[in-house]
């Protein structure tokens, strides 16, 4: 075993095998389980119905994020402000009831640590390199940016993990996506992952766990790596991984849930040993030249519909596959776009800066840098910044970023998933367009009839100023 060179994924997998079945299926131990209010109620309900308990509440952390309004949650006297949407309120109340009932730590809606689970996990040091991390949310792949094997699960699997702290899994195939070279000015981690999505297509990663490698990935900050890994699911991959290095360790060190003292040193030694061995092979390798990546934007209703901001809306005939031609026709119709139209001529009415992909402090700094001494265009009706957590919000305020956003005509909100998927009141109205730093441009994703263009925080900010999708490099 020890002599065979292994990939990062294979090493983490091997370290978590509880039992291996004859057919190759493994019972895999789960180190960290994040729970939010949308995909957990039915799991807790099933545990209750069968008289089962949570095996490791200490390895489980509950955080409400999807339904919470991003407006004030407490009145001047500190009392909770009732949530207007009855079903949202009911789902949040279920989590507040279930977590203590099953002995699970809950970060409440008014706690400064509250935020989007995929922002909170790394921020609290709950998510660690080399760990297996699951959550009933497909963007769990995000934590792979730390070198964790992290993936989304369904509610039945949430129940399975709560009851057994394990999952029954088949090992995935491995894919290396190597991005070599230096990113150009104005090109961010989000542009990298949008570009990769355009290359791999929406299903190119199905059945694979992707390891992102290469100098351009290594040069990214840890937050940038979280952004890349976050969208692994948008190319169909179960998980994304980036080898942990000194930057990762510096990021994790000192965080509340992170190991301390001698245990920290032992952990770092182990984390260093996890990198893919020389000579290990992947089932598939895709190589991308960093110099080919420019600020990117989606034009359609699948994350694979990516074009450079300098490009034009494609025509259905540009695609060889007849079913893709048909899908492109439907997308163009839904998006209200004409083939050949320059992306930088597409007017927008909304700008959303937030989501588990792009709501960390570096994202807000990048947007604020563009917006400083500028204001949103008159045709941009709604521009909003939703920090990824209360701690991100506080840090941004300490740096004066909130003032820049407010002066630019943006709203400055409380943390949560917000308009990424519009389960709370933050929605894009039907027929309106949004430059959004989120991760999905599906039909109706940001509200019924909403039209989403996925972009980086810098591009979103530049687009707000221009009133159209904009090339941040032109703003100077």
């Amino acid at each position: 075993m020890a002599s065979k060179p292994r990939t990062l994924y294979e090493k983490i997998w091997d370290a978590h095998v509880v039992e291996r079945r004859d057919d190759g299926t493994c019972l895999i131990y789960v180190d960290r389980h994040l729970v939010h209010e949308v995909t957990s109620p039915q799991a807790f309900e099933a545990l209750r119905a069968s008289g089962r308990t949570v095996r490791r509440p200490d390895l489980t952390l509950a955080v409400p994020d999807h339904n919470l309004p991003t407006t004030a949650r407490r009145d001047a006297a500190g009392r909770p402000i009732p949530i207007a949407d009855v079903e949202s309120a009911q789902q949040l109340a279920a989590l507040e009831r279930n977590a203590p009932e099953f002995g699970i730590r809950l970060i409440g809606d008014a706690d400064v640590e509250q935020g989007i689970v995929h922002v909170v996990g790394p921020e609290q040091g709950f998510s660690l390199p080399g760990a297996t991390i699951v959550c009933g949310d497909s963007h769990t792949a995000c934590h792979g940016g730390l070198g964790a094997l992290a993936f989304g699960i369904g509610t039945s699997e949430v129940e399975h993990v709560l009851a057994t702290q394990t999952l029954l899994l088949k090992q995935s195939k491995t894919m290396e996506v190597r991005v070599e070279g230096v990113l150009g000015a104005g090109v961010t981690a989000k542009d990298v992952v949008l570009h990769i999505g355009g290359v791999l297509r929406a299903a190119g990663g199905t059945g694979y766990v992707i390891e992102y490698t290469g100098s351009a990935i290594r040069d990214l900050s840890v937050e940038g790596r979280l952004t890349v890994s976050n969208m692994a699911i948008e190319h169909g991959a179960r998980a994304g991984l980036i080898a942990p290095d000194d930057k990762t360790f510096a990021y994790v060190k000192g965080r509340p849930y992170a190991p301390k003292g001698a245990e920290w040193d032992a952990a770092v030694t182990w984390w260093r040993s996890l990198s893919t061995d020389p000579g290990a092979t992947y089932d598939k390798v895709v190589v991308i030249n960093a110099a080919d990546i420019v600020p990117s934007v989606t034009w359609g209703t699948s994350p694979e519909d990516v074009v450079p901001i300098t490009g034009s809306v494609p025509a259905p005939e540009d695609f060889a596959d007849p079913s893709k031609q048909d899908a492109a026709r439907k997308s163009l119709d839904y998006m209200g776009l004409t083939p050949g139209q320059k992306l930088t001529e597409v007017e927008i009415q909304n700008v959303f800066i937030g989501s588990c992909t792009n709501s960390r402090i570096e994202d807000l700094r990048a947007a604020a840098k563009v917006l400083k001494n500028r204001t949103k265009a008159a045709n941009v009706r709604w521009a909003v910044v939703v920090p990824g957590s209360g701690l991100v919000k506080r840090q941004a305020e300490a740096e004066g970023l909130d003032k820049i956003f407010l002066a630019a005509g943006f709203e400055w909100r409380e943390p949560g998933c917000s308009a990424c998927l519009g389960m709370n009141p933050d929605k894009v109205p039907p027929g309106e367009r949004c430059a959004s730093t989120s991760n999905r441009n599906f039909v109706g994703r940001q509200g019924p009839g909403s039209r989403t263009h996925l972009v980086s925080p810098a591009t979103a900010a530049a687009s707000a100023v221009a009133g159209k999708l904009a090339d941040v490099r032109e703003l100077g």
Partner: protein
């Protein structure tokens, strides 16, 4: 879970590729805290068209759905599986499925059948006028016109579906092995076996 041996009847010749979970069940339907009643929101956007297949006299209540590549891509919401079940769909045939969706489907007793595009195209044709039959035991899909396509399925999943087994119960029976792993991990990987400190702010 109910045992599943055979699914037969009319199949909805849907055929679309990259059908994401927001199409199967939009986010606004995710606010429920039970598993029931999601059929009303299933394919809501498509069904706002009065001529949609799902509500047509011919296909309403059909137990089988035929779709294109990458069915169920997008979010992890198990509501997608619950919504299909509530519509009466217990089997989906497609050239490929998203990993998370096929897991969710299986755990709710929905059979996902992977067949090559040519076979799916032929079944789409037949489904317009005639019923089809999926036999899990023999891993085959047949039509009244002597078509017979065989499919692969994970043996464990097949066994669980045929017997209607509860996976949580099966794993709980492996308690000794899990406890042994936990003991070993407490020594070998203590930083994973337990969490560091308590909640709070980053002080480094």
């Amino acid at each position: 879970m109910e045992p599943l041996r055979e699914v037969g009847g009319r199949a909805i010749p849907f055929g679309a590729k990259n059908v994401d979970t927001d199409v199967i069940i939009p986010a606004r339907w995710l606010k429920t805290i039970t598993r029931d009643g999601l059929g009303r929101g299933a394919f809501e956007t498509l069904r706002s068209d009065p001529d949609n297949l799902f509500d047509s006299a011919e296909f309403k209540g059909s137990p089988i759905l035929i779709a294109g590549d990458n069915f169920g891509c997008g979010s992890s919401r198990e509501h997608a599986a619950w919504a299909l079940l509530d519509l009466g769909i217990t089997a989906v045939i497609a050239p490929s499925f998203s990993d998370i969706f096929s897991g969710n489907a299986f755990k709710n007793g929905i059979l996902t059948v992977v067949l090559p595009q040519e076979a799916v195209d032929r079944l789409m044709e037949v489904a317009k006028t005639d019923p089809i039959t999926i036999d899990l035991e023999h891993q085959s899909v047949t039509t009244p016109f002597q078509d017979r396509f065989t499919f692969e399925i994970d043996p464990f999943r097949k066994h669980c579906l045929l017997e209607g087994l509860d996976e949580v119960g099966l794993t709980l029976a492996r308690d000794v092995a899990i406890a042994r792993y936990e003991n070993d991990a407490a020594t070998a990987l203590p930083w994973l076996a337990r969490t560091g400190q308590s909640l709070g702010e980053h002080t480094a």
